[in-house]
Structures are given as C-alpha cells and as structure tokens.
C-alpha cells in the first residue's frame, strides 16, 4: 500500500461513453440484492397467480362455459407483477438518492441524461426478456393445467395470443420505466412507490367509485392499466380502447413522465 503506485498510468485513457454508462448501471443493478429479489418476486407473482387461476377456473358452477379467455386466465398475474417490476424501476433511482450514491453517479456523468437513459436501458434489458420468458412459461404451464381438466385452451399460434404474451412483458417492463421516471421525479422511494400504486392499482377502482357515471368509462379507459389491457387481451373486455390506441396511450404514460424526469434531472441541484 504505497501512495506512489497511483502514478502508474492507466493503459488507455478511455473517455466517458454512453456504453460505459450502461455498463456502470448494469454493475449497479446486479450488485444490490433488492434487484434480484424484485425480478424473482415479479416472476413468482406471474407464475403463482397464473397457475392458481388456471387450476381453479373450471371449478365453479359455470364449469367449462366460464372459460372464455384461456390466455387471459394464465396471464392474470400481470396485474400484480407490474407493481413489483414498477418497484424495481423506482428503486433503481430512488436508492441512489436515499444512499447518496447519486452524487458519485452524477459526478462521473455530469451531463446527467445518459444516466437516466442508462437506467432505462438496463431495466428494459433485464425485465423484458425475463418477463417474456415468464409469460410464455406460465401460459404454456397454465394451458397444460386447463387441458388436463378438460377445459378450453389456447395455443401460441392462435389469433392474438402472441400479441398478448409480448404485450404482457411490455406492460410489466413499461410500468418499471414509469417507476424509473417517478423515482427520478420524486427522489423518494416511499413517495414514488405510493404514486405508482395509486396510478396502476387504485385509480381504476377508485375512479369507478368516485367519478360521475356520465364520463367515468371515457376517463378510465385512458389509465395505464386499462390502456395496457387493450393490447394484451385476446378477448377484450367491453369499453376498452382498440389495441393500437391502447398501446399509444400506454406508451404516452411511459414517455411523458420520463421526459419530465429528464428535464428536471438536468435542472435540479443533485
């Protein structure tokens, strides 16, 4: 441990690059325990919910007639899993503010915007493939369960099924990106998670109770959860937007907070 060893020059004086920022964000994501736990939690939520629904669906009085959307039954875990992926998105940013790590991060990357984009990149890069694999797994396993119970089933090749699978993974990933944006906007884990829960979980129910009936349905279909339902349902519920309109509205829910977060990240003192 001699101070004189530090003058040994680094082999090549590599500059700051966006690729480097993404690698740095990846190191950060993989090196804290909460990341792995939330991804695992989201996957389990999908698998358990999907399989429980698949094995109980035929047991009520309706029997086989109650199964109108076998794909939707196996993917019903999205509703809960998106909250868990959203929490991962929040933590990726809010953890840095809670621990002071943000000062190290922004000192290394003073232009700041690459940090936000890098975080989005690793969150999307981690969650989309994982949740896509999980969606396929629970779909196939769920169809097998329902097939074994002599209930109607769906196959990946059936109309709309592939879109539902990819759309589910995109929904869970998209909510995680909303989480990143909320984390950056609010800088607080509790605040961002609460906002996320209200937005994707409570507003649809609360809105149904509190809004005047005359424009309730018109408003509710624009919420992120209804918008994503519009492009992930093989048999859509009545009153939803069309699939492309739903996708566009959901994308806006992801992009607009992210843009706001980007502007404020540049402007505010760290």
């Amino acid at each position: 441990m001699s101070a004189t060893t530090i003058d040994r020059p680094v082999a090549e004086k590599t500059p700051l690059t966006f690729g480097g920022v993404v690698r740095g964000e990846w190191v950060k994501l993989r090196s804290v325990r909460s990341s792995g736990l939330t991804v695992l939690g989201a996957a389990l939520m999908m698998l358990v919910t999907g399989l429980v629904f698949a094995s109980t669906v035929g047991s009520d009085s309706d029997g086989a007639d109650g199964v109108t959307d076998p794909t939707g039954i196996t993917l019903s875990g999205v509703m809960f899993a998106q909250l868990v992926t959203g929490v991962l998105g929040v933590l990726v940013v809010s953890n840095e503010y809670a621990t002071g790590m943000i000062r190290s991060t922004l000192t290394a990357v003073p232009s700041r915007l690459p940090v936000l984009l890098g975080k989005v990149a690793v969150v999307v890069g981690t969650l989309f493939p994982t949740m896509l694999a999980v969606s396929f797994t629970v779909f196939l396993a769920g169809q097998a369960v329902m097939g074994g119970a002599k209930l109607p089933t769906a196959a990946v090749g059936d109309p709309g099924v592939l879109a539902a699978l990819v759309g589910s993974a995109a929904t869970m990933t998209g909510v995680a990106v909303i989480g990143v944006a909320l984390g950056a906007l609010l800088r607080s884990t509790a605040g961002a998670i609460s906002t996320l829960v209200v937005l994707v979980f409570l507003l649809p129910g609360l809105g149904g109770l509190l809004l005047p009936a005359s424009w309730r349905d018109d408003a509710l279909k624009y919420l992120p959860s209804s918008a994503s339902e519009a492009f992930t349902s093989v048999v859509p519920a009545p009153g939803l937007l069309g699939p492309s309109a739903g996708a566009a509205v959901f994308a806006a829910w992801v992009v607009v907070p992210l843009l706001l977060a980007a502007v404020l990240l540049r402007r505010r003192d760290a």
Partner: protein, 305 residues
C-alpha cells in the same frame, strides 16, 4: 488547475458562496480552509456540477467540468457527504463508477490496493467503519488517474495511521505535478500538509496566501512578567506599541523586541521575571483571519477552531 470565478450560490434566502474567486495551481497542495458552514463543500459541489451556480463559474483544467470528454480523468473528488450504496461491495462500487469511463477491474484492484482496502474489497460498504468508507471515497477520487484531486475533509474518521497516509498521498500527488485541493476546518491539519491556503468565511474569500506568508504575517508579541506593571507600561508606551495587561503582573507587548524591553526595564530599574517572545501559531493566525467570518459561534466568546 482549478479556477473559481465570481462564484455565487444561493439556496433560497441563504447565500452559501458569495462572489468567490481563486485559482488552485498544480504541483502544490492547496488547503481549502474555513469554519464549518463557510461554503467549502458547496464550492466543491459547484465545481463538479452537482449544483448549478447562481452566478459566476468554475473551470477544471481550462474547461467547465461538464464539458470534458472524460471528467473522471480530469478531476477526482471525494465529497464530504456519503455517496455509496451500503448494500454494494467496495469493489462493485468502484467498478460501477469506473465503467462509465471504460475503467476496468485491473485499475479498480490497483486502486483498492493503494487505499488499503484489498482485503475487504468484497465486503458490503454498509459494514465499513468511517475510516474505511473514507478510504473508499479516496479510491473513487483516484480511479481515473486524474490531473486534479479534490478531497473534502479527507481526514474525517481516519485513525492516526490513516492521517499520516493521507498526508503522504497528498504530497506525492502534488509532487507528480497534479493539482491537489484539500478542504478542512482544522488549521492544524493544513499546517502539516498544505503549501498554499485558500481561506473562506461566510462564503467569501478571506485569504489566498502561501502558508509561509501567513505565518510571517501573524503579529508577534512579547510576554513580560514584572511586579511593577504600571511602571513598565509607562516606560514602554509609544507609537506603534500595543500593551495588553493580562493581570497577575503579566503584560503582552506588541511592537517592541525582547532586547528593547529588557534594556528599557534595566534603565528604569524595573525587575523582570519573564521575557518571552510569543509566536502566534498558525492556528491563531487562522482564528484571527476568520474571527468575523464564523457562522456558528458558541456561547463563550472564544471560538473553537
């Protein structure tokens, strides 16, 4: 080279940095000295762009920090506030920061060795002592092999060995021609390491001087003990002479040499029991400089440095 030009930062109604201008040159250790709350940490945050200045600006090696292609290779910074996720290992922390600049495991391990953390490199930072955390922060500052190193209160939490190590490190870095800028609220610490001092108080520049000049400029006096103080005072009084009675037959005389005082006392037949030249310590020089600039004063009149 670090240049601070007319830098001002207000947080709401509070002015943390107030029209500060100074230059930190390479090759020497420059101390950044001031009482707590004088604006040192704010200045350093502004330097690396964590906060935006209200007016004025800073340059690192000729450019604003943000405009460098490889900021971590221009300046390495240890900030006072903790900046590490406690759940991450020291090595992963360095890898994450280094990755942004393409700095890999080889350099990370080298730095871990320099700061003496190799053995605990894979342990969670949350389990680190204050001193180990400080060493990790210094490791981050050295990671990019930067041309300038800025450390905010680096000796905080270090044990005596660590403090000695820091002093050597700072001297070596300066000897290699780097710009070394170290903040402290302790004059005693700076007296041992720094060649040059930038002193601030209440966000304003108080002094920008070589340490040697500061010592030379401090007023020296002579302490005299005699049973006949009033007679002595009568003999010594004159232009440019300042006499303070400390009671108990002791007076401090400024403006006359020991030879002068002794001779005049002898001529007047006044016995002297003590005649001691008083050399103001650097600590006292600093206290004097910042007397009007101390933000938080204790209830007793004497200000803790």
């Amino acid at each position: 080279m670090i240049e601070v030009e007319n830098l001002t930062k207000r947080y709401g109604p509070k002015t943390a940095v107030d029209g500060l201008s100074f230059t930190v040159r390479p090759g020497v250790v420059t101390g950044f000295l001031g009482p707590n709350g004088a604006g040192k940490s704010t200045t350093l945050r502004l330097l690396v762009g964590l906060d935006a200045p209200t007016s004025g600006g800073t340059k690192v090696n000729g450019k604003p920090y943000r405009r460098h292609r490889a900021p971590l290779r221009e300046i390495g910074v240890l900030l006072e506030a903790r900046a590490v996720h406690p759940g991450r290992s020291a090595r992963d922390h360095l890898l994450a920061v280094g990755a942004t600049h393409g700095i890999g495991a080889k350099r990370v391990d080298e730095v871990l060795d320099v700061v003496g953390l190799t053995e605990v490199a894979r342990r969670r930072v949350g389990k680190f002592s204050l001193g180990m955390g400080q060493r990790l922060g210094i490791g981050v500052a050295l990671l990019g092999d930067p041309r300038a190193v800025v450390l905010d209160e680096p000796v905080n939490g270090l044990d005596p060995d660590g403090i000695k190590w820091i002093r050597h490190l700072l001297r070596d870095l300066a000897a290699e021609g780097r710009t070394v800028f170290v903040s402290s609220h302790l004059m005693s610490e700076m007296a041992l390491t720094a060649d040059h001092l930038v002193v601030v108080g209440r966000g304003k520049l108080v002094a920008d001087v070589p340490v040697a000049d500061l010592i030379a400029s401090t007023r020296r006096g002579v302490r005299v003990r005699t049973p006949r103080t009033s007679d002595l005072v009568a003999v010594l009084q004159g232009d440019g002479v300042e006499i303070t009675s400390l009671g108990g037959g002791v007076v401090d005389v400024i403006g006359l040499s020991t030879e002068d005082i002794g001779t005049r006392a002898l001529v007047a037949g006044i016995p002297l029991f003590e005649l001691t030249p008083q050399r103001a310590s650097l600590e006292e020089a600093y206290t004097e400089l910042t007397r009007d600039a101390v933000e938080y004063r204790g209830t007793s009149e004497r200000v803790a440095a």
